[in-house]
């Protein structure tokens, strides 16, 4: 195969991928470089792999989501810890895309926010593999706070608080 043609093909492919990634709803809101999945997919994975879940409930345009992405999640230590410890779930709080809950109920992502009575965004949830809630945090989270919450969950400190809540 002609080398110049191969290079041109790869270049065109890279441009197409770059253009599509700009418009991708899946990549527009969670911090870049993290492997976030849908809520229903994440809960299924967590149960199958017996892993804890980190849920990021965000809104497109939300200032504190933007700041958490660019300051908190940009920290390499945060990225390493969260990618290693959790199934990462992102919920677009204004989306009308439908999710299927473990109960079999089908609701929109926005309805999930209504169920959780989210006052605003961002809201972060740490869940057990069965979906039970461990910890909930509102608003901007810097790298120190994100690492502190990770330690709290990973050390099992939450078990002594008795604040387990049922899954949404």
């Amino acid at each position: 195969m002609d080398f110049a043609n191969t290079r041109l093909t790869w270049l065109l492919a890279a441009i197409v991928i770059a253009v599509f990634s700009l418009f991708s709803p899946a990549q527009a809101e969670p911090p870049p470089g993290y492997k976030f999945v849908r809520y229903d997919e994440g809960l299924r994975q967590a149960k199958a792999d017996n892993r804890q879940v980190f849920v990021y409930f965000g809104r497109y345009g939300c200032g504190f989501c933007d700041k958490t992405n660019k300051v908190g999640f940009a920290d390499p230590a945060v990225k390493a810890a969260y990618s290693r410890h959790y199934i990462l779930v992102y919920v677009n709080s204004e989306s009308m895309d439908r999710l299927t809950l473990p109960s079999g109920e089908r609701i929109t992502e926005m309805q999930l926010g209504e169920r959780l009575n989210t006052l605003g965004t961002p809201v972060f949830f740490f869940l057990q593999p069965d979906g039970a809630q461990i910890l909930k945090a509102y608003g901007y989270q810097g790298p120190e706070k994100l690492l502190e919450m990770d330690q709290f969950v990973q050390n099992g400190q939450y078990a002594s608080t008795g604040k387990h809540q049922p899954a949404p």
Partner: protein, 390 residues
């Protein structure tokens, strides 16, 4: 000789007055904890009424699949809802209904396509599919005795809103070709459409977040093939000039009020720490221009978020908005009445029920207000219906 002028039937609730004639019914009951009711559609068009009948459409999900249903009730307090009729044959969701010129048009999404039929009595007409493709949301409105439909579909990695008209001719449905309401080159995430007809113009409202946050737009024109450029309806409030893109507007619903004035309501994120508030705007020229935004939520409701606003008017005096919030701890249905250009105080509709949500509303030409919602408690869930004739 004194000549009496005809009095316009107002589409408002008068719960506190003795003149109000209220009627509360259970439409459907579900004792199986694995089955779930849904009253969900774009623009919240799950209920419609003429002076003789009211029709309600809803969805039940079990094991991740949906079945949509329709039930009718004759006007009058003595009547109850008839046996639910199943819509479609497969996974059918987002059912919508409109009463246009004496016919009930019913639509839903099934196999990624829009399905529509008419009900004249209990019998459905032939089902037509005006559009196929990965359809995500559907709404409906009236244009004389025709129905207007608008939907959002997957378009590449985003969404596009399209609209079309459906008309019953000698009992058979005919439909127009779908029309895009805005360029997907500029607006990549067009969602949550509403549709109405006023002042000789078709109006489609929709949201798009391509500018960095969800904004509410209206596209209008004298016909679907003569749509003007969209205008922005909501006021964008920048909360920070360093982070984010500002307040968002989502989940709009539309009604046509007195003198064919358009009433748009939506959830607005401009409040700092208390979630969404219900805001409104009016258009007196068929959607060409929109006025200031007005907050519908009174001071008692400012501390909690509001959800799922729906609005109805019979085109005469007044209009009523309903939504859900938990200002008194339990999820409850709340309402506000429009008097002229002013929204009245917020009034609870669902009383002491443990958990009520997902309200929908319609208004008959005679001024009867029809509201339905979902009620949940340890005994299961049910769809409740309430009407009031002033």
């Amino acid at each position: 000789m004194i000549r009496r002028l005809p009095v316009a039937a107002a589409c408002v609730l008068a719960w506190a007055t003795a003149a109000a004639d209220r009627n509360l019914l259970t439409v459907a009951t579900n004792d199986n904890p694995a089955d779930f009711f849904q009253l969900e559609s774009s623009g919240r068009k799950n209920i419609a009424a003429d002076n003789a009948r009211v029709g309600l459409v809803w969805e039940e999900t079990r094991s991740g699949r949906s079945t949509s249903y329709l039930a009718f009730k004759a006007a009058g307090d003595q009547a109850t809802f008839g046996k639910p009729l199943t819509l479609g044959s497969d996974d059918a969701f987002n059912p919508v209904i409109a009463s246009c010129g004496g016919l009930f048009y019913v639509g839903w999404i099934e196999e990624d396509s829009v399905h529509v039929t008419i009900y004249n009595g209990e019998q459905p007409g032939r089902v037509v599919q005006p559009v196929s493709g990965p359809i995500n949301e559907l709404t409906i409105g009236c244009m004389g005795d025709s129905a207007l439909l608008a939907w959002s579909r997957r378009a590449g990695n985003g969404y596009a809103v399209e609209a079309g008209a459906v008309q019953a001719v000698k009992g058979e449905l005919t439909y127009t070709a779908p029309v895009a309401i805005a360029s997907t080159d500029t607006y990549h995430f067009q969602t949550n459409p509403g549709v109405a007809y006023a002042k000789g113009r078709i109006i489609v409202t929709w949201h798009d977040r391509s500018g960095g946050t969800n904004l509410l737009y209206a596209t209008s024109g004298t016909s679907l093939d003569k749509l003007d450029k969209q205008v922005q309806v909501n006021e964008l409030i920048r909360k920070s000039y360093e982070w984010g893109s500002g307040s968002s507007a989502v989940r709009n619903a539309l009604a046509v009020g007195e003198n064919q004035r358009l009433i748009a309501v939506w959830l607005d994120k401009r409040a700092s720490r208390a979630g969404y508030k219900v805001y409104s705007a009016f258009s007196n020229d068929g959607g060409i221009s929109w006025g200031d935004n007005y907050n519908i939520i009174d001071e008692w409701g400012t501390i909690v978020p509001q959800w799922t606003p729906a609005v109805a008017s019979n085109g005469q005096k007044g209009a009523t908005v309903v939504w859900m919030d938990a200002r008194e701890d339990n999820n409850s249905i709340w309402s506000a009445q429009l008097h002229g250009m002013t929204w009245g105080p917020n009034t609870s509709l669902s009383g002491d029920a443990e958990d009520t949500h997902s309200p929908v509303i319609a208004c008959s030409p005679d001024g009867t207000v029809h509201v339905a919602w979902i009620e949940k408690d340890n005994g299961g869930s049910r769809i409740r219906y309430l009407s009031e004739r002033n």
